[in-house]
Amino acid sequence: MVASGTFGWGKEYSEYMDLNKLGAIVTKSITLKPREGNPPPRIVETPSGMLNSIGLQNEGLEHFLKEDLPFLAKFDTPTIVNIAGETVEEYAELAKRLSKETMVKAIEVNISCPNVKQGGMAFGVDPGLTKQVISAVRNATKQPIIAKLTPNVTDITVIGRAAVEAGADALSAINTIVGMALDLETGKSRLGRETGGLSGPAIRPIAVRMVYELARAVKVPVIGIGGIMTGNDAVEFLLAGARAVQVGTANFVDTAAPLRILAELHDYVHRHPRTLNLS
């Protein structure tokens, strides 16, 4: 699978690969209304990682349903739509609208977004808010729900359990870690916003640990995300207990990344027929 926000709407990468060969395409987060996104710069490179502050730029649900979903419908690959909201109601409304689209195979709920009603704290750092969001989505759709967890928490299993109790069919982890880089000339942030989300190989050890913790805390499948650049990296997540993985930042580095990683994964399974059963 390719991770949300790193593969656009699929269209951008369709020139470089056969999208039919992907396990699934997770769309960039979609919001009810169009969103402008954050002021530039939005990208900073850091040691073995990158910070981004895109700010969920997207043209909103209507545009997505009219322009982007039909394109994805042309491929055999399952489409997973990632949704983001500023209120519980927005999440519910998004899910309700998407529940009518038969070619949406699952909904991934990005709960890392700030909760506008409650002072901007992210939904996903609080088990209560997490439950509210996931329950609302659960009530709005029969499609499988994946709760995408934020790593910026003391104990990710608390949030994971809350999401499962509220009806999530799977968990994906991790979203980006809040980070910051300052410009040495101006003393200001090197991003248009103060902070950004850290992704890439730098965060992999943290992501593997969180997936490992989650896989032991919940019965639903966990999808591993975070710094996967090679088939071996993907294997590490599977060994940690993930049942699937998503490739994010690697797409920027190598347009062939998802298919290459898939091939490398097959290779590994071939060479190590039993290691993966150990976990």
Binding site: N38, I43, F252, T255
Partner: protein
């Protein structure tokens, strides 16, 4: 269609203090590329630096199926890139973005480059000349004033491509910030000077400015163009991740909201941009 490809290094040479010229072999890129487009270069194997680096197409040679980059070593990525040996292969993604729009009907083409902004002007100048020649087929003569190139640099050492550019346009005006070579002052001042002294009001309307360089310079050029009502295309830079419009990382503010430098640009109409 853009392509991700391992391209063989044919020429790689220093051409100034920290400047390099790099010629790569790729039929797909060389035959498709347009002036103003760029490629995303993987500067080294492995994941440090993590992201590709965007570099403009400096020359495009479809006959020989090669393209040339001109770059300055400014940080980790370009430092590693400078180590690529002739014969080695570099992982390139391109050609990317929307380049300059050339209207051969325009009489005067003013190309303005500041610092490394001179890089894409070479490909542009060559293409302008070709298109003008075609358009002017009857008299087969391109008048010197038709192709006017202004380049600005910090100092004498940093002046790039003067010779190369002179082979295409007879009018190449160099200025340096410190006056160590050519005219002293900013290249935008030179531009204003030329417009004021060499172009009539009529010829302003049949002129076009193409500029590439640091943001303050582009802002100054945009102001001049607006004031003189000259069409103006600017090539912008922004930090990039994907380079193909997928990540929304390279936003620039336009009159119709954020646009992506990598896909909607790097070349924009000056009048569409919102400078802060």
């Amino acid at each position: 269609m853009p392509i991700q490809e391992k391209c063989r290094v044919l020429v790689h040479q220093p051409i100034g203090p920290r400047f390099y010229q790099l010629t790569l072999l790729s039929r797909d890129i060389a035959t498709q590329a347009q002036p103003g487009q760029f490629v995303e270069v993987k500067c080294a194997d492995g994941y440090v630096p993590l992201l590709r680096r965007p570099i403009s197409l400096h020359r495009i040679d479809p006959q020989n199926e090669t393209f040339t980059l001109l770059y300055e070593v400014v940080g980790q990525g370009t430092e590693l890139l400078a180590k690529a040996a002739v014969g080695a292969e570099l992982d390139i993604l391109g050609p990317l973005g929307t380049g300059f729009k050339i209207d051969p009907a325009k009489k005067t083409h003013l190309l303005v480059g500041g610092g490394m902004g001179v890089a894409p002007l070479m490909a542009l100048a060559e293409e302008v000349k070709i298109q003008k020649s075609k358009a002017c087929l009857p008299d087969r003569q391109v008048k010197s004033l038709d192709l006017f190139i202004l380049i600005g640099a910090r100092n004498k050492e940093c002046v790039q491509c003067e010779g190369e550019l002179k082979a295409v346009a007879d009018q190449v005006i160099v200025s340096t910030d410190d006056g160590s070579y050519g005219q002293k002052g900013f290249v935008s001042d030179q531009l204003l000077d030329i417009i004021n002294n060499r172009l009539s009001v009529v010829s302003c309307q049949s002129s076009v400015i193409y500029a590439c360089g640091p943001r303050p310079m582009l802002k100054a050029v945009a102001q001049i163009a607006a004031q003189k009502q000259i069409d103006c295309q600017l090539s912008l830079e922004e930090r990039m991740a994907c380079g193909i419009g997928a990540c929304k990382g390279c936003a620039v503010l336009t009159t119709s909201g954020y646009k992506m430098v990598c896909k909607d640009g790097p070349v924009f109409n000056a009048s569409d941009l919102v400078f802060s």
